[in-house]
Every structure is written in structure tokens, then in C-alpha cells.
């Protein structure tokens, strides 16, 4: 096990700069997500850490070792692919044992460790099967067992769960987290699924067009996005553009939107849909932001409902418990309100 450090890494493909000046620390034993939309080069970063690609600048360390010139086969990493990449001509046990055979650990040691790894992923009884005889979830587990059996320093996962259907995915998330805790391996995984990133990781890094926009614990990044992109990408956000730009923000608009005390200049304000309440009468409490708006849409989704309201030149999305939202006909006026602390201040550039 080891910590991983990515320091000012740059990677170019011809004239295209895939990664520019990316830095992120991955402390020992943590679970980390690299999150970004497609084209953010998050997979490129993972492949650079893995050693399939070499950096054009900057330094990558695994443990104390600078690995910039070390190819993938010497980096002692475990890797799990989106399509699992199980060897179709080998049994489950031979797949898992591949890395051990390459290392020539000896037959009895090899058998013991294959057994251990398969037990860890709860597939001890399927060692003799071929990959094509397994379900998607089982293949996933074999791929995981194969990635950790050599006791690598780091486990790298490339969109590990994206090929599974929703319910299986949630099961595997829990399973993945359990196994990661059990063996305490530093794990870095790439995903475009923000929910997955928020649920699983101790720290997330948000990438956009090859730049690390923000990194930190999920709650910090969610509550304090550094820019409009992050605010909208991670969770939903109503962006209230242009308000209070370059000025003190105690009360950007009389009777309108309040910001948390002590906020500095902002380039934009944002509010999460789940922070907003809807009422038919004007709220009178102190310390809340309020907007008079017209209800345009209401979508029922079981426990929760989503409403769209327009007011004050903005469109607001509101998500709340269905029973908390008053019965109002579409086109009627409503009041939207939220606490001052729930106004997200996106720092000025």
C-alpha cells in the first residue's frame, strides 16, 4: 500500500494537450474518484498513473518512488477495466492467478492466494468456470480479485461499474467499498457518475478539459464549488448569474437573495434545488432569500417531486418531498425561499 502523488502533470498527444498541470494527492488507504464529463481526459490521467502513458512534464510518485520512467508492468499496480478484460481462454482461477504466475510465486502459494482472493469477492466456488459462463456481476468480481491478488500498491479502476445495470451497480458499490476497507488499499477510480463518486470516495477530483478544477472531500466540493461548471456538474444547481459581481454581498438585491455572512466577491450565486421551499404566501422569517415566481411545471416522482418556476429573470428547479409542496395550479404565483447559508457563493475569478 502506498500513497500516490500527482504533481503538475502534463500530457500531450501531438498538438493536443490532454492534461495540463494536473496535481492531486491521494493519501495512503483512501478511496478517490476522478470525476468529469466525457472529454475531460480523466481516463488519460488514470492511464498516466498506471504507466500506459508517460508524462510530458511533472512527476508521479507511488509511495516514495518516482515512477515517471517506470513502465506499467513494473509499477506494481492493480487495474480493473470497464469491460473487465478477463482472458477468455483461461478459467477464473487461471485469470486470477495470472499475475502470480508471472511473478513465479510457486504452485502452493499461488493456489492459496487465488483461493483467498476469490473468497474475498465471494466467488470461491467458481474457480473452474470460464469467463463466458459468468454473469456480469461475477465477471466484475473476478476482475477485482485478479487486480488485487498480487497485493499491488494501488488499485486503479476505469469506470468499473458503468457496464452494470442500476440495482447490480449499487450492490457492487457497497461490495467494492467493503473490500477496499478490508484490504486497505489506496484506490483511484474514474467515473462520470457523480452519485457514485459522492457515495464511494473520501476525496474527489473534478476534471474538465484536462485541468483539475477542484479536489477535496465530496461534501466540501458539493457545498463550496469553485466555479459554475463544478456547481452544475456535481449535483444540480440553479445559477443566479451576475448577481453582486464585484461588490459586497450582504444584500445584492433588496428583499431578494441573501448570502452567508462574510462572503467575499462572487462571479455568480447558486442554490441547490433541494434547498428551496415553495409556499403560496410570502415567508416572513428573517435571514431567508425569497423570490416571487410563477410555477411552470410539476413532475411527480414518488417520494420526491420536481418543480420548475420562473421568477426574477431566472428559472429555478426545486426538488422536495411531494407532501411539502403546496397544491398550486400551473401558472400561479408562488414564493421560493431558502436560508441564507444555502446560497452558494461562487468566488470571483
Amino acid at each position: 500500500m502506498a500513497e500516490v502523488s500527482v504533481h503538475n502533470v502534463t500530457k500531450r498527444f501531438g498538438k493536443f494537450t490532454a492534461l495540463s498541470d494536473v496535481s492531486m494527492e491521494f493519501p495512503d488507504g483512501g478511496f478517490f474518484a476522478l470525476l468529469g464529463p466525457s472529454g475531460s481526459c480523466k481516463t488519460t490521467l488514470l492511464r498516466t498513473i498506471a504507466g500506459f502513458l508517460f508524462t510530458d512534464g511533472g512527476t508521479i510518485r507511488i509511495g516514495q518512488q518516482v515512477v515517471d520512467d517506470i513502465p506499467v508492468e513494473k509499477r506494481e499496480i492493480g487495474l480493473m477495466f470497464q469491460n473487465y478484460a478477463l482472458f477468455p481462454n483461461m478459467t477464473v482461477a487461471d485469470n486470477v492467478g495470472f499475475g502470480l504466475r508471472v511473478r513465479k510465486v510457486g504452485a502452493s502459494e499461488e493456489r492459496r492466494r487465488i483461493g483467498e482472493a476469490l473468497d474475498l469477492v465471494q466467488l470461491g466456488h467458481l474457480g473452474d468456470r470460464k469467463p463466458h459462463q459468468l454473469s456480469g456481476g461475477q465477471r466484475q468480481r473476478v476482475a477485482l480479485a485478479r487486480a488485487i491478488v498480487t497485493r499491488p500498491r494501488v488499485l486503479l479502476l476505469d469506470e468499473p461499474l458503468s457496464a452494470l445495470d442500476k440495482s447490480l451497480r449499487v450492490d457492487m458499490q457497497i461490495e467494492l467499498k467493503r473490500i477496499q476497507r478490508e484490504i486497505g488499499i489506496t484506490t483511484i477510480f474514474v467515473t462520470h457518475d457523480q452519485e457514485e463518486a459522492l457515495t464511494l470516495s473520501d476525496k474527489i477530483g473534478i476534471l474538465r478539459e484536462g485541468r483539475m478544477i477542484q479536489s477535496g472531500p465530496p461534501r466540501d466540493v458539493y457545498n463550496n464549488p469553485v466555479d459554475v461548471f463544478t456547481a452544475e456538474f456535481l449535483g444540480d444547481a440553479n445559477i443566479i448569474a451576475g448577481r453582486g459581481q464585484g461588490q459586497r454581498l450582504e444584500r445584492p438585491q433588496a428583499g431578494g437573495i441573501l448570502v452567508p455572512p462574510g462572503s467575499d466577491t462572487a462571479s455568480a450565486l447558486a442554490v441547490r434545488p433541494e434547498s428551496i421551499s415553495i409556499s403560496t404566501f410570502e415567508p416572513i422569517q428573517d435571514g431567508i432569500s425569497k423570490v416571487n415566481a410563477t410555477l411552470v411545471q410539476r413532475m411527480f416522482a414518488g417520494a420526491m417531486s420536481t418543480c420548475i418556476a420562473e421568477g426574477d429573470g431566472n428559472t429555478y428547479k426545486v426538488i422536495g418531498r411531494d407532501l411539502d409542496i403546496p397544491e398550486v395550479a400551473l401558472g400561479q404565483k408562488v414564493w421560493l425561499s431558502w436560508k441564507a447559508v444555502h446560497t452558494i457563493v461562487i468566488p470571483g475569478q
Binding site: A50, F52, P71, V72, E73, K74, E76, I77, G78, L79, F81, N83, A85, L86, F87, P88, N89, F98, G99, V102, R103, R146, A147, T150
Partner: protein, 261 residues
């Protein structure tokens, strides 16, 4: 109703094509078992042409030579062709596209022209005619076939398998031996069979490049037909056709040639 009619017509059409392809061969095979030297009917079963063939050292020598040349060609062409396919699959390099395109003309250029060119070339470099020239010529003809067949198989190979193997610590050679090779093995076998067939059935290039007295079987058959036709030729041809067909059927099985079963 018309669909059924069409299906029936299609079957008749297919049958006609098969008759067109196989009738002459069947007649020849049939006649190799006929006692009469002049193809006289009624048919009288006899193995005498096969017996005569067994005593004909010239034909048997040529057959042995043909098989040996075909085997050597197969080994060389398969090794070189497979290595080339893997390189074309794995690496990006300048001129790769050009190289790939240039693999196809040798298949399309008439063998007569290739043969003439080779003959001039081998005399030019001082190698002249003889078995080494024949083998080099056959290898050159067979390589494109091997590359086409092996590359087709490689195209279905998931290259993340190689990456997975490397991430587990396997070096380049181990990856090739343990992961890539097992996957493309059917392609290699099919390619080898094609190479064997190309060499064994080769007439034009062999005729140009072999020395008199060192003929391959097809060349010998051609020269003996010119001297006077004997049913011994039918007998040896029947054997060759049977062997070739078995080889091609095995190749077809390995390469999914002619569609999935």
C-alpha cells in the same frame, strides 16, 4: 407463395453452380478408377493406375518435393506473416497504411507476371533457378494470405487484454505468448493452411523457377500431359484434390471462412 418459389429457385441455382464446379473433378476422379486407358465406357473398376503411380519414381519424387517445399514455405510464411500482423496491430508507425495497402496487389497480380518478374530478379541477383528460388517465391506469394487471415482474427482481439496482462506485471513476450497467441491461434492455423495450399497448388511460379529434373508435382503433371496423357495423372490429381479439399475445409473451419456455422 412467391417467397417459397424464390427459395426453391435459389436452391436449384445453387445446385447448378455446384455441378458446374465439381462435375469435371468428379469425372476425373471417376476415370482414375476406370480400367480403360482411353476413357472407354462401360466403367470397369480398377486400381491399376494407382498401382502404376506407386511404381512411378518420377511422380513420387515430385510429390515429395512439392510437399517438402510446401511445408518449408508454410513455416516461413506463417512465422513472418504472423509477426507482421501483430506488428501492424500493435504499433503505429510512419508508412503503416501504405504497407497494408501494398499487401494486396501481390494477391491480384497474375502469377504469370509475378513468376516472370521473380525469374528475372533471381537471375539478376545471381541465385538463378532451383529449389531455394522456388521456396522464396512461394513464401512471397503466401505471406499476404497469412497476413490477411491472421489480421482478420486479430481485429476481433480486445487489446485491453494485453493491457490487463501488462498491469499484472507481464513483459511484452509473456503477453504475446500467454494472451495474444492463444486468441489468434485459429487464425494462425488457418493462415498456415492457406500458405500450404498456395505453395502446394502453385504451378506458374514453380514452373518458372524450378530446374528441369527438380520439378514440383504440378510442373511434372503439366510436362507429362504434353508428352501424352495417362490416367496415372488422374490418379495423382485425385489424390491432390482430396488432400487440398480436406486442407481447405479445415482452414475454413478455423477461419469462419464462408460464414458462421
Amino acid at each position: 407463395m412467391s417467397g417459397l418459389l424464390l427459395a426453391r429457385l435459389g436452391k436449384i441455382w445453387l445446385f447448378c453452380i455446384l455441378v458446374f464446379l465439381y462435375a469435371p473433378i468428379l469425372v476425373m476422379a471417376f476415370m482414375s478408377f476406370n480400367a480403360s486407358q482411353y476413357y472407354q465406357l462401360p466403367f470397369e473398376f480398377s486400381l491399376k493406375w494407382y498401382e502404376k503411380l506407386a511404381g512411378n519414381a518420377e511422380i513420387l519424387d515430385a510429390a515429395t518435393r512439392s510437399i517438402l517445399i510446401a511445408l518449408v514455405t508454410t513455416v516461413i510464411a506463417t512465422v513472418l506473416g504472423t509477426a507482421a500482423s501483430v506488428a501492424l496491430f500493435r504499433f503505429e508507425f510512419r508508412g503503416k497504411r501504405f504497407l497494408q495497402v501494398m499487401l494486396f496487389p501481390p494477391i491480384a497480380i497474375p502469377w504469370l507476371i509475378t513468376g516472370t518478374a521473380m525469374l528475372i530478379f533471381f537471375y539478376g541477383i545471381g541465385l538463378g533457378r532451383g529449389t531455394p528460388s522456388v521456396i522464396i517465391g512461394h513464401v512471397a506469394l503466401a505471406i499476404p494470405y497469412v497476413i490477411v487471415v491472421v489480421s482478420a482474427r486479430l481485429a476481433t482481439f480486445d487489446h485491453t487484454l494485453e493491457e490487463a496482462a501488462r498491469s499484472m506485471g507481464a513483459s511484452g513476450w509473456t503477453v504475446t505468448r500467454r494472451v495474444t497467441m492463444p486468441w489468434i491461434a485459429p487464425g494462425i492455423i488457418a493462415g498456415a493452411l492457406f500458405a500450404f495450399a498456395v505453395s502446394f497448388d502453385q504451378f506458374v511460379v514453380s514452373y518458372f523457377l524450378s530446374e528441369p529434373g527438380d520439378s514440383t508435382l504440378p510442373v511434372l503433371i503439366y510436362t507429362s500431359i504434353r508428352k501424352g496423357f495417362t490416367p496415372e495423372i488422374n490418379a495423382i490429381s485425385t489424390i491432390i484434390i482430396t488432400v487440398s479439399m480436406v486442407v481447405m475445409l479445415i482452414a475454413a473451419r478455423f477461419s469462419n471462412f464462408g460464414g458462421e456455422r
